[in-house]
Amino acid sequence: MEIEIISFGKIAEFMANQRLTVDGIKTTAQLKDFLEQEFPPLAGIKYKLALNKTIIQETVELKSGDTVAIMPPFSGG
């Protein structure tokens, strides 16, 4: 299955936007585990996910073609 990953703020400094072909990853929780292994600095950062432009608070299932945004704490204003 193919997932598009987009990243922002300090996370974008070590994790570029990319299309990932992932097997065995069915949920956002599994995706987080995967990304924290691939990009170790991510494990030390508080971050939120948005799935297809909606912020998600809990684990949800992924399907091919989804876009997942990886977002560090907001600091607008």
Binding site: F8, G9, A69, M71, P72, S75, G76, G77
Partner: protein, 147 residues
């Protein structure tokens, strides 16, 4: 969420004080307004570990930010009897002393305008996917965190 068009709030670079003056002036034909409340965020020359902030570089996840802002706008209009609400946030580089956020609410009476304005500022800071990179005078940087 209704179908109406999502409004943009982003401005490239600083928000000009004269633009704020013009925004105020545009309300002189809204004759049932009794009070306006404005909040302006200005970039501060914070000192962090002996280095001075010279500017903040703002980025956003624009599609999500505008959807979130639209929800905030809808909630606030439901909660307070406002005549108008205008929101502008900078993207890109805003130097120390320049304005990066402009929230402007108007109502028949002062209290709804004041309370709505303050609530919008809190929600913008907490809910909009915007990131500020503090650029120091020596061109190093750190990522801002809202307190």
């Amino acid at each position: 969420m209704s179908d109406r068009k999502v409004k943009d709030i982003f401005i490239n670079g600083k928000i000009d004080p004269m633009f704020i003056g013009e925004s105020i002036a545009k309300h002189s034909d809204k004759k049932n307004i009794g009070g306006h409340s404005l909040f302006l965020g200005q970039v501060r020359n914070d000192e962090i570990d002996g280095k001075m902030v010279a500017a903040i570089d703002y980025t956003t996840y624009k599609e999500l930010a505008l959807t979130q802002m639209d929800q905030i706008r809808e909630d606030i209009f439901k909660k307070y009897p406002l005549s108008c609400m205008h929101i502008y946030h900078s993207l890109g580089t805003v130097k120390v002393g320049e304005i990066c956020l402009f929230v402007f609410t108007s109502s028949i009476r002062r209290k709804p305008a004041i309370e709505a304005c303050s609530e919008i500022v809190e929600r913008i800071k907490a809910e909009l996917p915007i990131w500020g990179k503090e650029i120091f005078e020596d061109e190093t940087h750190q990522w801002k965190e809202n307190s």
